[in-house]
């Protein structure tokens, strides 16, 4: 899931200054899970902005719309006919897809999108994947050293690993400590003997926005064009 957190209310109010018609967009997928931008949060933001508008005489017209997934065009059709400003509580992907679909709208981010991860406990969400495009989880007992090691080391821990914690923060477990423990449990410690070569970073962020094509799913002539590029 994509992890996001709510922007401070003061920042949101500042961004909305000068708006008239405001639609608060909630998303029932990732941002709902991390309690930043689901249906409940959209309702809450609507009430908050309405209260502010009434107190300060701003005459804002505010309504919430929550969709299943703001990052897919089919799901944001309920926004057809919306005018003015959309305060998106969906992740950065959702906000951009909405902007792409409805260029006349002014889309404003209501959340800060931070990472890809998972809930670790109630209210705690931790980054698990950096989306590097060259997965090596089979060599590291299913624990990603790119995302979960502060230095993204590929062949064992650094000298700062102490008592299973990272030197960057005592709250952060050392990824390589976890990897070694996990490999021990699996009886695969021999994998530590295997040198992981320097990573090929080309599939990662370095080449600009990445595009993934499943040629089989591409319809018509476009499929041939994509096959030719393979």
């Amino acid at each position: 899931m994509i992890i996001a957190e709510r922007k401070p209310l003061t920042e949101v109010l500042e961004m909305l200054d000068g708006s008239g018609e405001i639609t608060v967009l909630g998303c029932r997928s990732c941002t709902a899970i991390c309690l930043a931008g689901g249906e409940k949060e959209a309702k809450e933001m609507t009430e908050a902005l309405s209260l502010h508008s009434e107190l300060k005489g701003k005459s804002w017209s505010i309504r919430p719309i929550t969709v299943e997934r703001a990052c897919e065009k089919e799901f944001i059709l309920p926004l057809q006919g919306v005018k003015g400003t959309v305060l998106s509580l969906a992740c950065g992907v959702g906000a951009q897809v909405v902007q792409e679909m409805f260029p006349a709208l002014q889309v404003i981010p209501g959340v800060n999108t931070s990472s890809m991860g998972a809930p670790e406990g109630m209210g705690v969400f931790v980054e698990k994947c950096a989306g590097c495009g060259d997965c090596i989880l089979h060599l590291t007992a299913g624990i990603c050293p790119i995302a979960r090691c502060a230095k993204s080391l590929l062949n064992g821990p650094c000298g700062g690993s102490q008592n299973g914690k990272c030197e960057v923060s005592p709250e952060t477990p050392c990824a390589w400590d976890q990897i070694v423990r996990s490999l021990t449990t699996q009886g695969r410690l021999d994998l530590l003997e295997r040198n992981i070569p320097p990573k090929d970073w080309r599939p990662s962020r370095s080449g600009g926005p990445r595009r993934t094509v499943n040629v089989e799913a591409v319809p018509g002539d476009a499929q041939k064009a994509w096959r030719d590029t393979e």
């Binding site: 109010l13 009430e47 209260l51």
Partner: protein, 126 residues
């Protein structure tokens, strides 16, 4: 009007006893199964509907039948307090009260404290 979200196990019995004594015409009770179930949007909506102050009245700490509903409610009240200030209201408009069902006097004290806060609020913010 002071809106009180009262836990059915503690806050509501205490509030009902306090109401019997009288002088509570400006108090609106809303019974909830646990204060942890009171959502932020509900409280914000109450202010939009004319509430001058909100009390969230739940069980004593470590005495919640739902384990930590009252703790969540307390943290939520703190968040709401900050939100309301950002939105343009003055401080002290949302208060969490922890009490047991026989402590109707604590409910009354909380209502009186909220009345004092509301009275000290500029007219245009009420």
């Amino acid at each position: 009007m002071i809106v009180c979200y009262c836990c059915s196990r503690s806050g509501m019995p205490a509030a009902l006893k306090a109401m019997e004594v009288g002088d509570m015409d400006d108090v609106l009770l809303r019974e909830v199964p646990c204060t942890g179930s009171v959502e932020r949007w509900e409280v914000l909506h109450a202010f939009r509907q004319g509430a001058e102050g909100v009390l969230v009245v739940g069980c004593l700490l470590e005495n919640c039948a739902h384990h930590y509903g009252n703790e969540i409610a307390g943290r939520r009240a703190e968040t709401l307090e900050k939100m309301l200030v950002d939105l343009g209201l003055s401080q002290g408009k949302v208060v969490m009260v922890h009490l047991a069902e026989h402590q109707s006097h604590r409910f009354r004290q909380a209502v009186e404290a909220m009345r004092a806060t509301v009275r000290s609020t500029p007219e245009e913010e009420r």
